[in-house]
Amino acid sequence: MSEPSQHAAEDSGPGRRSVLKAGGVSAAAVMMPLAPGGAAHAAPGPSAAPRAAADIALRVNGETHRVAVEARVTLLDALRERLRLTGTKKGCDRGECGACTVLVDGRRVKSCLTLAVMQEDREITTVEGVARGERLHPVQEAFVARDAFQCGFCTPGQIMSAVACVEEGHTGSRDEIREWMSGNLCRCGCYPNIVDAVRDAAREVRR
């Protein structure tokens, strides 16, 4: 076992992300273990090329933000690191935990699995854009009343999923809510309270 070499790779194998996140560093990292002989001396490939930043306009929570981003920048990192909208959280960066869930044209999207440059002309809603001024959205109200969080880190994603879950009408029963809220992990273990909150919010919205 002498002299193994490495290209440091964040991921140990192909993941769901590799399918969706073509181009840029992540795809390269994911491919590495598949390369014969450990790709230590592989050509630098696309990473050596200078990367042009694209000037794009992102419409987030009703406001238009002009931002220069490289094509490889995810929507999540654009929101957090460029637009300083840090309510949206990064839990895994590969679409497994749901902490980064935002709404794009009303649909739930894991913002770590999509690139910012793909989101021009879309209406993006983050947790910062859910309340109407001082008035919390019924989903937010219900999360507070039902104690549907503890540490609060998954909460922005849970709330975005819950807003969509209510809009989609997937709130007919506790089981239906459990199923449609299962893309968002909560490690503190607030699931029953989250289900209660989503039920309450659905009733409130329909009133």
Partner: protein
């Protein structure tokens, strides 16, 4: 006197958390912050033979690529101290485990840092690692006592106890490596300003983080400030101070810019500890009537090459029942793996085995498992010989049995089927240490507007510290909760210990309450001495303070107010509490579970869980209930799905992610019913409450495993209970 404590107050930080306004460590706004990214060893044992950073350094935006050759030397405290790991990487060429940092890249953007990290070329002289506990049991040894835990403990006469036993079970169980996986991966954002260092850190112990940083970087502790106002879960993984924190702060000093390092999810599997794999043998004997005569429990746990502290304490075996003759031994096996640590309810690992073995014994004896536990209840801590402060374990079992409908259980395995499969009911005791470390302190500042700012350098890891301390402060001062702002997570506040070991309440409540009570007395004293006060000349011992008003007891019409007293005083009133003493406590409960096992697929569904707990006085029923529900859910993962798979040949984690490491999702989780006995522990200095956070994430593992046995007639002694084992 108590008016708000005990009420189910909504979380005071709720609005911040549901609007995205709560700023976690990675959210801190620091202009000009560069991004760090680690390069990890792909081998588990050996040395770095060559490391080439030229391509990485030449990549766009890169500020530094620090390796063991270029990283400044960091000091480590001599010997092993709890909550700090003595091994720091990037100090020499040795590799102690896979996933050990071999380089730290700093670049202008996150993407640039991640890209450059892929360009670092490392070659190793690697040796074959040893990574499987069960292949190395012959190397087990008894290490020195760790923390307050004896590695070996004996009471009574175990041989005589064996003689007296009419029925004995002697069983071997195993548990697997598991990872904390808080939703927020660990974060360090280090900002130097001359000789001063500010670190935004996801830390369960800001005080330890500060002292360790000061030691490692050779700066006076007063120059180091650690901030952790919000924590995205920790579960023990953010308790110790881990190397990435020190490396990031050193790198920031090196590049002359703030540096933010967020561990990738994969990196957390080798950077912030884990629940170590164990092999446990437990012999347990009883007379025919169910009275236990002896137990002998030997736990063998993985430790690393660089540390040997153990965390799977055999506490339940020593404390939970009146076992007269007992021996517990904790052994260690060094493997080429990362260092393990405490993980939510470290005592669950061994209590699982105790509570499963008791179920086996109950079957052998033909005694109901609830009845068996009641017959062996004890009011005395047999380690110290002192009575427990208060203990309502029997009440928990009786109430739980009633809520669950336990009397409808047919004890025969495989007897309770329905259309979905084999139904099983199981029971176990929950138990965990619930005492406090010494040193908790707080400060109160009463302002001229009549509000109070209460500060303590504690943490809120999601448990509700902000909310509960607001309640405690309001009662201590005699003001409504909206007149109190409680702040934490800043080393500039009076110090408080680590938020781990269920210790936040017992550590912090006494200091907060003492500071507030002293502030109240101070203001009462100012009022009665002040000729302008309506209370001038009154006996301060007869003054009641309620809703911010001070009045002679029984005469609320004639009053002064905090606001008026402090205004006349002309400046805010500031009171510090002295650091408080430690406290030892043990919080118990009873948990009941129903499972349904598919007869052909071997899948286990959890249908319901009922838990009744005795935490002393309940300070906030809303947050306590949520924590108890969370504990049950945590244990569903522990029992059924969570397993960090380690390649025995390579020593590498195979599933360092959340798609291969399965934590429960919403659809896995049934309703969880929770009740509290809610009777005061008169010995507790924390308003008669004990630490409680970890108790509900014990017991459920065994209740589920015992339910699976009841459903199937199969006793699976290896966690997790995956379908392959039940087919």
């Amino acid at each position: 006197m108590s008016k708000v404590v005990g009420k189910p107050l909504r979380r005071v930080d709720a609005r911040a958390k549901v609007t995205g306004a709560a700023q976690y460590a990675a959210d801190a706004r620091v202009p000009g912050a560069a991004h760090g990214f680690l390069v990890m060893s792909t081998v588990a044992r050996g040395r770095i033979s060559r490391i080439d950073v030229r391509a990485a350094e030449a990549a766009p935006g890169v500020l530094a690529v620090l390796t063991h050759r270029t990283m400044p030397r960091l000091r480590t405290p001599p010997g092993e101290v709890p909550y700090f790991k003595s091994f720091v990487p990037l100090q020499d060429d040795r590799i102690h485990h896979a996933g050990q940092p071999v380089a730290l890249v700093v670049a202008g953007t996150l993407e640039q840092a991640q890209e450059a990290a892929t360009l670092v070329e490392v070659r190793y002289d690697s040796e074959r690692p040893r990574a499987a506990l069960l292949d190395a049991l012959d190397e087990a040894y008894v290490p020195p006592d760790s923390h307050d835990e004896p590695s070996e403990y004996t009471r009574g006469d175990v041989a005589a106890g064996r003689e007296q036993a009419e029925v004995t079970v002697d069983v071997t169980y195993t548990t697997v490596t598991q990872h904390h996986n808080p939703m927020e991966p660990s974060v360090t954002l280090a900002v130097w300003d001359g000789a001063d260092l500010t670190v935004h850190e996801s830390a369960q112990g800001i005080g330890f983080t500060r002292s360790t940083l000061a030691e490692a970087l050779d700066v006076p502790p007063r120059n180091v400030r650690v901030l952790s106002p919000y924590l995205g879960g920790g579960f023990g993984g953010k308790g110790p101070v881990w190397p990435h924190t020190l490396l990031t702060a050193a790198a920031a000093r090196e590049v002359g810019r703030p540096v933010k390092l967020v561990l990738s999810r994969a990196h957390t599997y080798s950077s912030t500890g884990h629940r170590a794999e164990t092999h446990q043998r437990l012999a347990l004997g009883a007379r025919r009537d169910g009275r236990l005569t002896f137990a002998e429990h030997t736990t063998t746990e993985q430790v690393s090459r660089t540390e040997q502290s153990l965390h799977a304490a055999n506490k339940a075996t020593r404390l939970l029942y009146g076992i007269p003759n007992l021996r517990t031994v904790q052994r260690a096996v060094r493997l080429d793996l990362p260092t393990g640590s405490f993980m939510r309810s470290p005592e669950a690992t061994t209590s699982h085995v105790l509570e499963c073995a008791l179920d086996e014994l109950s079957c052998e004896l033909g005694v109901d498992p609830v009845e068996l536990r009641l017959r062996n209840d004890t009011r005395v801590d047999l380690v110290t010989g002192e009575p427990f402060g208060s203990r309502y374990l029997a009440e928990c079992f009786r109430r739980g049995a009633e809520l669950f409908g336990w009397d409808r259980r047919d004890p025969e395995p495989r007897s309770m089927r329905d259309e979905d499969g084999l139904v099983g009911w199981g029971v176990a005791a929950a138990a965990h240490t619930g005492g406090g470390f010494p040193g908790g302190a707080a400060r109160v500042t009463l302002s001229e507007d009549g509000t109070a700012l209460v500060q303590s350098g504690t943490q809120d890891i999601g448990t509700g510290t902000y909310t509960v301390m607001t309640q405690v402060s309001a009662d201590g001062l005699g003001v409504p909760t909206d007149a109190v702002r409680f702040e934490l997570g800043d080393t500039r506040f009076p110090g408080a210990p680590l938020s781990a070991g269920s210790a936040t309440v017992p550590c912090t409540v006494p200091g907060v309450f003492a500071a507030c009570a002293t502030a109240r007395d101070t203001v009462v004293g100012m009022a009665v001495r002040d000729p302008e006060s309506p209370l001038h000349g009154r006996d301060p011992g007869r003054i009641t303070v309620r809703d911010g008003r001070l009045f002679v007891t029984g005469d609320p019409g004639r009053y002064d107010t905090y606001r008026a007293v402090v205004r006349r005083h002309g400046e805010p009133v500031v009171v510090n509490s002295p650091p408080q003493d430690s406290f030892s406590g043990y919080s118990t409960g009873a948990v009941f579970a129903e499972v349904c096992v598919h007869p052909r697929l071997g899948t286990v569904r959890v249908r319901r869980v009922t838990g009744v707990f005795d935490p002393g006085t309940v300070l906030n029923h809303r947050t306590a209930r949520s924590q108890a529900i969370g504990g049950a859910i945590w244990n569903i993962g522990f029992t059924l799905t969570e397993h960090t798979l380690i390649d025995a040949h390579a020593g590498r984690v195979v599933n360092p992610n959340l798609s291969g490491y399965l934590v429960p999702v919403n659809a896995d989780v049934p309703r969880v019913e929770v009740e509290f006995i809610d009777k005061p522990d008169p010995t507790s200095p924390a308003l008669n409450a004990r630490g409680f956070g970890e108790t509900p994430s014990t017991g459920v593992t065994a209740a589920l495993a015992n339910a699976v046995y009841h459903a199937t007639g199969r006793r699976i002694r290896e966690l997790p209970l995956t379908p392959d084992k039940l087919l």
